[in-house]
Symmetry: C4
């Protein structure tokens, strides 16, 4: 089982990665990106790859414990977070983690969650139908211990705190997901747009 | 009647969409874009399409009530606003709606209208001949009810308040138009430039 | 005499225009760009062309009074400023006018000139050898009367006030020049960089 | 000995230069970029080349005193800084100098060093394993005397002050290095990201 078994999804995932890299949302080999591959695996970016020129050769297959099928390849250290998210909901088909300046500075300035309202862009998120609704984005403190971070994510999911398809990790970036890759891409773009707005409004308010 | 009947305008419209997407003016499948197609129809972007890779297959034909000719395709929910604008003036040949960070944050910070003067860029708008003139951009409050929003636009047009070829919707973005697609493109770029300037000047004044 | 007589310079000029357009320095068909063509003429962008897809067909030849050789083509209304600059110094081979957000907002915030020092980038300008030198950029008030504006430019040149290869027009943008197109391009990029820095420092100081 | 002897590294170096130019990190022919070529030489960008369209013809070979092998070519005036860095550590295989707005304005606003902590992006630097560590970036005052500047760099290296693979020169930009070109690229991108964050946070704090 290898990326060659999923040529369409592999190419589509790489295209999204290159697009995000072009927007400087995953500089310095940051960010990691995956799609579900069958019921028990995901196809994810290998560790340390330059996303601006990503090709299917830079992907690999891991199971939902984050373990590589081909042990000669090195998955991203954050693969357990992807695995954690796929296990939350069988309908999640893609998990995208960007690492933008806006997400970084905004998450460092904010408290335990970010509340957003009055933006048409909120409708980018599955289930949000109006700019009048209030959207809460949970911000987890950063942690190098992926199991500890996964446990906190799972707890927030179970507790019903993850009301939009994504969350922030403080000083680190955004995780967003969707049923299909296109949904996850739309969610990432919606979040990144809203983070840019929220940060710019903070600059004027200060 | 389908986009295939208008190959030149379809390709030109898609090229403008991809250019605007590259500038991050229509992230997360936001924005919608149309050109007039005959006297009684327009050709418009379908709902939920990624503008960064738009092709003529992602367009469709609607009448000026916003009703799809091919009922199997889903037009943008904002198609009625395009239809409303085409009905205001038979000389309008293109309507472009961008959804940029600058337009969003500026419209949220401003009152019922934005007054701009002293910028050479004002001359990008048809009918404005000098930087000395004062330009008023109307800002409508956002609304999920397209008929209600259309009625307010029509009222402002009839009342002579729309003195430049575009308006803002608060927290939502810009609608601009022109006789030809190139005119509408120039108007969008002029507005977006002026919104960037006005927002940056607000950051220094604060 | 037409752009076809100068295929190399025409292509090189268009390449620079497209590069600057990509950086959003000439949105909404703003900006105009020329190279000297023989002793008595220049080759300049036609009025109203989208610089992001400029080709040699969008150029034309004018004499140094700003008069078109081919009267069926419409030169930029600012052609007299290009002609004025070419007449100041026979060694000037290219004149580039950009219309960026940074140049616009900075020139509106500044007084009659902008003083810059301590930047390594100052060395981009012909004749400046150290970051320790102090660079003065003259800012002319904007004017729709090209002859009046030309007269002020000529006076500033004669009075020795134009000590760097460019000046600002308030709320309008940058004019820069050089012996060769590459020199003028380097000067534009140096100025635009310094305007971005100066504006950002103004945002922190405020 | 010429760039033609190292076609793979020459193409890879040019690709990185064009990528950085696209991000406006080396406008106005600023920035200079090299890879080690054998034990006693490096391959470096020639003086005054536009990095946005760099090709192997724009590179040249210098020894580690900064002297050109082909005396008909003009190396960057900052070649001695590259040579200085290669002599500090035989494991350094690439030296990249960018000249961004963020690095410029931040280095002008800061004191003798910049302290960064709490950012996941710090892990982009070889040897940094957690966002909890505190990273110090040394800022040297700018100098047109390359020998004097080299001496200060060497002193800081010997004194153990260069704890991350890069430093800033005030009002001038970033020098970063790595074992391989990809490492140096990752370090540049990590630094530039962190400078953008630090500058944006300064705008909110002010």
């Amino acid at each position: 089982m290898s990326p060659e078994d999923f040529p369409g999804p592999a190419n589509a995932l790489c295209e999204v990665c290159r697009l995000f890299a072009d927007r400087e949302w995953c500089l310095a080999t940051s960010g990691n990106f995956s799609v579900r591959a069958g019921k028990l695996h995901c196809m994810i970016t290998q560790s340390g790859k330059d996303k601006s020129r990503l090709s299917p050769d830079d992907l690999m297959i891991c199971d939902l414990h984050g373990i590589a099928v081909d042990q000669s390849l090195k998955p991203s250290t954050e693969t357990p977070l992807h695995a954690c998210i796929y296990k939350l909901d069988a309908d999640i088909g893609a998990v995208l983690h960007t690492h933008s300046v806006s997400a970084t500075v905004l998450s460092r300035a904010a408290g335990p969650e970010l509340t957003i309202s009055g933006y048409e862009m909120q409708k980018a998120f599955a289930g949000i139908g109006s700019h009048d609704e209030s959207v809460n984005v949970v911000i987890f403190d950063n942690d190098q211990d992926m199991q500890a971070l996964s446990a906190r994510i799972e707890q927030a999911w179970t507790g019903g705190q993850l009301t939009v398809p994504g969350f922030l990790i403080r000083g680190h970036g955004l995780y967003a997901w969707g049923e299909k890759l296109g949904d996850a891409q739309r969610h990432v773009e919606g979040f990144e747009f809203l983070f840019q707005c929220a940060w710019q409004e903070l600059m004027v308010k200060t």
